[in-house]
């Protein structure tokens, strides 16, 4: 038996490098992914340095697209988009972390847990527009809130900033992006061994210290994932800014849509390049913030008990 096996192995070995299956499949997947996805995406950046109209592009290098983008108020747009997304991401983190902690470790009632999970999942199935449009009738000039305020005499005139304002955009994001923050944090906290938490409590660490020194570092991959899951789709969201902001609060993706709508692929590419730059900066920031625990890669790579 051994002899035939050896022979087979030799044939295989001559044909293929001696690698574990994991490395083989990773290499294959990586090549496909980089060839099929990353290169096309990077090509967008290359395209942003060319001229042309629609999809007809001639290869004269230029910074024209960037000049145009910034002359349309691009810098305000970027600053506004990042500011709003970052604010909401921070608020979500503050609310979601204790909530996820409670869900993972505090909640003893299984039915409550299951129902909460369900509640955190179902909104993903709904058209975001449907959810958001409803707020217009709640916060509008004739809306429920204004009617209540007028009836109680709290205001004489309807409050107009409840909708089509930055407040409205913030509010619209708040509910919509809560589950994306809770889920990853929940996942990582639920993986923490209970023995660990109990041990920490036995040793007299108070709640805050347990949180900061035991739970938080172990939940860090989830926190990072949660921030990514929330911040990035929020930057890409087309619905909230449009319906809650009434285009008074223009955000990134609305701008992209309008550029694509008129075949302005080149400026859109320039914008994409700028966004990519922001994302990389974001990653550098994240990395710097995580440096005490070994940087972003290490957070995912080396957190072992």
């Amino acid at each position: 038996m051994a002899a035939t096996l050896t022979a087979n192995d030799d044939v295989m070995r001559r044909l293929l490098p001696r690698l574990p299956a994991g490395v083989w499949s990773l290499s294959g997947f990586t090549v496909v992914w980089f060839g099929g996805i990353v290169i096309p995406l990077l090509a967008i950046i290359l395209v942003s340095f060319f001229q042309g109209r629609g999809i007809r592009i001639n290869l004269d290098p230029t910074f024209l697209q960037y000049e145009r983008f910034f002359s349309y108020g691009g810098s305000d747009l970027l600053a506004r988009s990042v500011r709003i997304a970052a604010t909401i991401t921070f608020i979500e983190l503050m609310i979601a972390f204790p909530f996820a902690l409670w869900l993972a470790k505090g909640c003893k009632n299984n039915m409550v847990r299951l129902l909460t999970f369900t509640a955190l999942t179902v909104p993903f199935f709904l058209s975001p527009a449907a959810r958001v449009i409803v707020w217009r009738s709640v916060f509008g000039i004739n809306g429920v809130v204004n009617q209540a305020l007028l009836a109680t005499g709290a205001v004489d005139e309807p409050v107009t900033w409840l909708i089509f304002s930055e407040f409205a955009v913030h509010f619209g994001f708040l509910g919509a992006f809560f589950p994306t923050m809770v889920w990853p944090i929940f996942l990582s906290i639920s993986l923490i061994d209970n023995d660990f938490l109990e041990a920490s409590n036995d040793l007299g660490a108070n709640r805050f210290r347990t949180l900061v020194h035991v739970i938080f570092p172990l939940a860090l991959p989830g926190v990072v994932a949660g921030i990514v899951f929330t911040f990035i789709p929020m930057l890409g969201d087309t619905v909230v800014a449009q319906h809650m902001g009434g285009n008074n609060v223009l955000m990134l993706s609305a701008q992209v849509q309008s550029l694509i709508g008129v075949s302005n692929f080149l400026v859109a590419a320039a914008l994409a390049a700028v966004v990519l730059g922001i994302m990389l900066a974001f990653q550098v920031l994240l990395w710097a913030a995580l440096k005490p625990v070994g940087g972003l890669n290490e957070v995912f790579a080396n957190l072992r008990r």
């Binding site: 409670w102 058209s127 959810r131 509008g140 990582s188 992209v256 957190l303």
Partner: protein, 300 residues
Amino acid sequence: MTMTAHASETITYAQVRPPFWRRFMDGLPRGTGLFFGYGVLFILYLPIVWLMILSISGEPLTGIPGEWTLTWYEDVIYADIAQRDGEAYGSNFRVGDPLLLSIGLAFATSAACVIGALIVGPVLPRVKRRGPLLIGFLMPLMVPGIVAGVGLFMWYRLVINVKMGVWSLALAHFVWAFPFALLAMLVVASRFDTRLMEAAEDLGASRWQRFWQIEVPILKPGIFAAGFFGFLLSFNELPFSIFMRAGQDTLPLYLWIQSGAHNTTVPLIYAMSTLVTIVSIGLTFLAIKLAFGGGKDGKQ
């Protein structure tokens, strides 16, 4: 080992007056996190409940419920049935096919995400120079969706010269969902101890046995999360799909196109969302019960 360190720190902590914010945090009642969490869930669900009520109202666009009617549901459901029967119906809001395509794509994306995340997730943390790899895998997150969609479209249609179709739509969904699925998997896989695989090999397990009996059960939460995010992200994906569709309509695409019509679609969207909500609550509850309800690991 770490615990001893904590113990000694606690002593010094007790001696020094803690800063304001620590006292504040410790002083907060236990339910604070819960209160805010469910508060946000309330904000999330208020419009959903409200739209359910409006979906059976005569004038949903005013936002004031009343004049109860099921006419919007008829429009959503019957238009499809009528078309199938070759009859005329006074609405062209036909969500049947887009919905089926969306569900199909969501399952396919989910499966692809699980496979992809299983290929990359467990190995990536052990690759030496994984930084560039990780950035490459997360690349779709860093480019606005619609631009990424155009980029992929240009590449495949103009450079490689293939026609768009369901395959490109599926690819678009996978590209969008995979980074999220991978992150979810990495949360779990970064803690996976590869020595367990060696132990299994040492005990005589073949490659497949190691994979199915050791790796998969231990990575189960990550697998579930990857599939879960794959499904959900695909189901509502719009920006990538716009250019990668070539004649195919997913549900979000269909609603997006409908929004360009010169007649109101909101009541129909409300009615449809209500149906989707009700069905998905049931299915999600079941799925989550299957995934978490088993109890052994999740509960304690």
